[in-house]
Point group: C2
Chain length 212, copies 2
DNA sequence: AGGTTCCCCGATCGAGCGTTCGATATAACA
DNA sequence: TGTTATATCGAACGCTCGATCGGGGAACCT
């Protein structure tokens, strides 16, 4: 049982990380339920049974992918928020962080948005908490933006938060990194669309700086 | 083989429609691959083999759900667009139609956004065409809005289109019909968020009319 | 009465699944 | 040299799945 052990060897951790990356790709391609551990064993070049030395079950595999990715994106955001005072710049940092992380970990992020319901019980609970933590942080930033700008209440805060996440998360359905729209520009587009709107405020950019 | 027959009896069509509705619910709950025809047989009160009189395969079932729903939402939109001249009102009709249809056919729409990749070959091709048709129609409306309003090019049209669909489709991840936010108001919120932005244009509503 | 079409069923098949088990090779430690 | 922990493997188990097949009853027509 790999329950409470901490082999803590670098090699072990590295191989686990590699398995998680490959697993995320397979889950992203075929979906969690349709993907098989045998797929993973083939692509990782390991035997089927040998994999179970690194995790206890397929569901734990799914949990670890989501757990680690959510923690990473949250930690990266908190670092980027340090020292930023302007509410609008905080929101800007959030969008760029989320979109940037998304494009660099496309498979994992797709698994997070696509296979949330595939988790059950304790696993589900813990991922729900992380998601809530992230969502709450985002909503608080939106509250700040509303307080310190001319923003009226065009929509309730939770609706606005969900709309923002919808815009950002939907990327996986159409965006291919390395296309003619670079990631930074895509993030800036989405930030301006969300803050200023498609029709926009005539005569004044929402951030006061030029595009690109 | 139910290949080219047209039983065209009302009873037959009604039972098929009922099966599709139940199947959409099961697919929405458990995901396409995890759901089983046996689940459908239990919930429909029919034998397992008896179901195959109404469809040839599980994948055809998935195809029919997506095909019929997409055609319905497209047809409803085209009707609502008739006689509307203002570009902004066309966009408004699109958002209300999409969100409204979404909330009334939550299961089917979830299947459409969630299980698109589960289709293969000819089925996949035909759904791709329908999606493209819908997406193109939306993009043309956005082009009109840009032409006839003060809208600058805050984002490329395809990015804006995808962002809009992201906002609308993400609903399935958080919205529960019958909550304290009625569907019409939710649609209006999203419409205003998208056109005017979260911060909004001070002093002027995007449509020139009051809320509600 | 005989024939045909529509509708439905129980039984079953072959395939694939997640997981387990016992064995084994290697390397570190006593 | 024996012991132990780490890491890997082939084979198998028990189960669920989508799909098929042959049969049969009810309704309708000739």
């Amino acid at each position: 049982m790999a329950e409470n052990e901490l082999p803590s060897s670098t090699e072990h951790e590295e191989k686990l990380e590699r398995l998680l990356t490959i697993a995320a790709e397979i889950f992203a391609e075929k979906g969690y339920h349709h993907a098989s551990i045998r797929d993973l064993s083939k692509r990782a070049g390991t035997s089927l049974s040998g994999l179970y030395y690194y995790f206890d079950s397929k569901e734990e595999l799914l949990f670890m992918i989501q757990d680690r990715s959510l923690r990473k994106v949250l930690a990266a955001l908190r670092i980027k928020l340090e020292g930023v005072d302007s509410a609008e710049e905080k929101l800007r940092a959030l969008v760029h962080n989320h979109v940037g992380f998304f494009s660099e970990n496309m498979a994992a992020m797709r698994v997070i948005t696509h296979e949330y319901d595939s988790l059950e019980g304790e696993y589900r609970t813990r991922i729900t908490e992380l998601r809530r933590e992230y969502s709450d942080l985002c909503q608080e930033i939106l509250r700040e933006v509303r307080r310190f700008t001319s923003a009226g209440d065009v929509a309730p805060l939770n609706v606005a938060t969900s709309a923002l996440f919808g815009m950002m998360n939907w990327i996986y359905a159409w965006y291919t990194p390395g296309s003619n729209v670079p990631v930074e520009r895509l993030a800036e587009h989405l930030y301006r669309l969300f803050t200023g709107g498609f029709i926009g405020r005539p005569g004044k950019s929402s951030t006061g700086r030029k595009a690109g």
